[in-house]
């Protein structure tokens, strides 16, 4: 179980910061920017998750297909 807990905190922090950015931008009436920021934050979080998932699949491949 070499699972790194830091990544979970990283994603959580990303979510909090992006939510705060969204509310600040929405407060001054720049709602279009607010939506772009949220979307970009979502994409970055997805990239982090995808890299974790690809680790998982590599491991599954290694166990069942006897590669590596």
């Amino acid at each position: 179980m070499g699972f790194d807990v830091n990544v979970v905190f990283q994603i959580a922090g990303l979510g909090i910061i992006v939510a705060m950015l969204h509310s600040v931008l929405k407060m001054v009436g720049k709602e279009d920017y607010a939506h772009w920021v949220t979307l970009l934050g979502f994409i970055v979080a997805l990239f982090i998750v995808i890299s974790l998932l690809s680790d998982l699949f590599q491991k599954v491949k290694g166990v069942f297909l006897f590669q590596n």
Binding site: Q10, G13, L14, I17, L21, L25, V28, V44
Partner: protein
């Protein structure tokens, strides 16, 4: 070492945010200075009959900040080199737009005003000053509104962007 980098990133983005906020905050102040300056220019022209270079020198001693430097520069150029008021005004205006927090609109208003300087008799000159003052009044209202709206936004955006970068790079 990680922490040192994180602190550096946070400090620099916060600083950028505060600088932008300062620019938003300075604009109404400088606009007010400019209005005061033009009003006393009107008085000097209408009642004092003072030549323009001396009038600008007086103005620069009454005001402060980039606006005072602008009037001082115009006065110096009129004394030394410039062949016309328009030329001295335009050259100093380029310096003002770098040194002050004014936007393009204010600089454009001032450029149009400079084109009328020293070409008319007193009554027409006074009318031009009044016109410029009313333009500046409108800009001042807009600048005040922008200050209320954007000053806090720039500050919090600076800090939040720093935190975001730190989390992404960590």
């Amino acid at each position: 070492m990680n922490w040192l980098g994180a602190v550096l990133i946070l400090v620099s983005t916060t600083w950028i945010g505060f600088e932008l906020a300062k620019k938003v905050r300075e604009r109404p102040k400088q606009l007010r200075q400019l209005k005061v300056g033009l009003q006393s220019l009107e008085a000097e022209i209408m009642y004092g009959l003072i030549p323009l270079d001396e009038a600008f020198l007086h103005l620069s001693s009454q005001l402060k900040g980039p606006v005072a430097r602008f009037f001082l520069e115009v006065s110096n150029r009129l004394d030394e080199s410039a062949s016309s008021v328009l030329e001295a005004w335009e050259e100093s205006l380029a310096g003002l737009s770098d040194a002050s927090a004014f936007k393009k609109e204010e600089i454009e208003i001032l450029r149009q005003f400079g084109a009328t300087l020293g070409r008319h008799d007193r009554e027409n000159q006074q009318r031009q000053i009044k016109l410029t003052l009313s333009h500046l009044e409108r800009e001042l209202a807009e600048a005040n509104e922008a200050q209320v709206k954007y000053e806090r936004m720039y500050k919090s955006l600076g800090i939040l962007t720093g935190l975001l970068l730190i989390i992404l790079l960590f």
